[in-house]
Symmetry: C2
Subunit: 428 residues, 2 copies
């Protein structure tokens, strides 16, 4: 057999087995799922040392290959990080099981009793990069929501992932559940991923977690639905009716509390009436926290007039599309609320945006007009997060519009079916 055809067989067999496992998983009662998760948490703790040893192989190889310090850090597991993974699994066990929930009930005039019931999606492929904790996080979320998952982690974390999946399989087998409920592609060959993306007869959905290049490739190649987690070009808009103190606090929090994450802001939009009155105080606070400001001509002039700023830069058109994930912020002045909404719909990535205003009518226009997953009135964009939304966990933040938008928890890993109770009804 050629190498390609042996990978074909590997991936196809894996996907078929995952589909079979998903049929079993859909019917596993909640307590049994929870017991399994708790045993996994226990085993992770017990095997903490061995996990770290397996991980060291990957870390060393990464260092040898000259990966950046940041990359190596993302890859690295120590006992503290393993303990955190185990804690995460316990938390998932405690969450309510979404499967079986009756979403709607509708008794028709002919007596047909139509019930819309929550069921697992089925088989979910997770494509991710270097963080090995994603293996445990995604496996436990998919497991709790009754799905089978196929994991495809980054090649840098291969040994760690393989070891973690071995532990998962140990627990699944001990509990009499199918190993294929958590499937792992046992090859780092890129061809395996390309094959997986064509198997829409077995795999119902793909969730890519990683950089834009990975997501773009998956979107273009996959024959099954993809739930994308694209970048966050988030915006804060200071309205003419904003409170100055609140504007300073929210913009500072949204930009600087953790600049490297997708719900931090990258653009600041300012109403022309407050360019002299509010913007300088916001800009001072930002500059004081080390934020580089990239200004349009109007804001540049205003801040230079105000004085005391060093290193102000002119923003280019490209800057407003940029996800810096760093202490950099672009500023744009607009003539009115409508222009602010248009700016955000054009340059933003429909992730998280906020308006700061005490004018309720303006806020409602903004909440309606900004076409993003999460739109805030007088609060930091940093709250876009499954935990902060009360979901208890998250598998990611969807920037897609279909099926799930914004933070995705267990419920977003389910779909529904109609169960219909009749008494002999015939269509006339």
């Amino acid at each position: 057999m050629s190498e390609e055809s042996s990978i074909d067989k590997l991936v196809t067999d894996l996907a078929k087995a995952a589909l079979d496992a998903s049929r079993v998983m859909g019917g596993v009662p909640t307590p049994r799922k929870n017991v399994t998760l708790l045993k996994l948490a226990e085993l992770l703790e017990k095997k903490s040392e061995d996990i770290v040893i397996a991980n060291q192989q990957d870390v060393e190889a990464a260092r040898m290959a000259g990966l950046s310090k940041a990359m190596v850090d993302r890859l690295m597991l120590d006992e503290k990080r393993v303990a955190k993974m185990a804690k995460g699994v316990r938390e998932v066990a405690e969450l309510p099981d979404p499967v079986g929930e009756q979403i709607e009930k509708n008794v028709r005039p002919n007596g047909l009793d139509i019930r819309k019931v929550r069921v697992p999606i089925g088989v979910i492929g997770i494509i991710y990069e270097s963080r090995p904790n994603v293996t445990i996080d995604c496996a436990s979320l998919c497991f709790k929501s009754g799905n089978a998952c196929i994991l495809r982690g980054g090649r840098e974390a291969y040994n760690t992932n393989l070891f973690l999946v071995k532990l998962i399989h140990e627990v699944l087998e001990a509990e009499g559940l199918p190993r294929a409920a958590v499937s792992f592609i046992e090859t780092t060959e890129r061809y395996a991923l390309h094959r997986l993306l064509k198997l829409d007869q077995y795999v119902h959905c793909i969730i890519p977690r990683g950089g834009e290049g990975l997501i773009r490739m998956v979107t273009e190649e996959a024959h099954m639905p993809v739930i994308k987690h694209y970048k966050g070009v988030c915006n804060a808009y200071i309205d003419k009716a904003a409170d100055c103190d609140m504007a300073v606090k929210i913009v500072m929090n949204a930009k600087t509390q953790r600049p490297g994450v997708c719900n931090a802001i990258e653009n600041l939009v300012v109403h022309k009436d407050v360019v002299d009155s509010i913007l300088p105080y916001v800009a001072k606070a930002l500059a004081g926290a080390g934020v580089e400001l990239r200004c349009d001509p109007t804001s540049l002039m205003a801040l230079e007039m105000f004085g005391g700023f060093k290193g102000l830069k002119e923003a280019t058109e490209e800057d407003y599309y940029e996800e810096y994930l760093d202490l950099i912020l672009s500023i744009r002045v607009v003539n009115d609320l409508e222009s602010a909404i248009d700016f955000i719909n054009r340059y933003g990535s429909a992730h998280s945006d906020c308006i700061i205003t005490s004018d309720e009518a303006a806020a409602k226009k903004f909440l309606a007009g900004v076409d993003s997953a999460t739109v805030y009135w007088n609060a930091s964009t940093r709250f876009t997060d499954g935990y902060e939304f009360g979901m208890g966990a998250e598998i990611g933040i969807s920037t897609d519009r279909l099926h799930a938008r914004g933070p995705m928890g267990l419920k977003e890993l389910t779909t529904y079916k109609y169960q219909i109770y009749g008494s002999g009804q015939l269509r006339g």
Copy 2:
């Protein structure tokens, strides 16, 4: 400009304009949408004669090209069919508007008031084949749900569709709404469709309505989510605890009331205990209605023993995967309920399936175990339909698992966003 690049420009400009129009449409109040729909219904009636004349061009060309009688009939509009389209538009006007509905509200301990609100999907591409009524049906459903749509009808119906869209644009303009809210690709070039499927920055979702080949092509090429409406290989299962009379009636209704539609059954699954007691009566009724029976060895023997059947055939493995859309039914005998469920999950297309039984435990196992969009207990599969489900209208029946499953009405043409009301909350 080469032909390809001029089509590129045509399709890209169209998609951009549709995105702009979708931003407007998302904010149009319900009464204004309804008035527009009622005016469209009126105009369709007023221009009925002209529509039929435009349609005659297509019908004549189709006859010249040697299209089958059935194809020509699908294409053909007479004044009665135009009146039916107008009536459909009036019905859509009367349906409740899903946009703006608050789906969930969740006030967090920090006071953040998180509201999940229904919003339009945005821009929906509809790819369809020869029936020109789809133009009006889909345009009115997308319009009512606040979406912009891009219509791509079959080349056979091009003149009819062009004329219908002209009427829609007339009404939109008179009402001060953007023409691009209902966009139509003004070329029959296939390349235009291929281009459209790549424009995921403007088009949020594609709904293909047509044969398997069309849907497969769209699924493989599209970069945006596709909501598929695949075939219906539906199954009825006669359990050992079935009532004979009910079994006869439901199977007859599900097979013969309208055999050419996707929710008619193609396979009959029978518990071995009732092969001699119930199956012969069901088979008699079917044969009497002209249904060709394709049997597995067990059912073939039983029916031959019972006697009085002519032209019984042996089923092949392929038969059980087949969507006949005709008076043909395949029969398979199973040893138990589990085997019936496995059979349906394997050969069916996860569309609509039913169990006939008076055993509640068996019914519940079946409702849970059959992994289909709609699963019935003691009722005909023919009820899988937006009208029968009380949706008032349907854009199709999704065989996908994500976003929408089963009949899709107005609500299924929407997504949601989070509108979050704060009072200065910062993330700690």
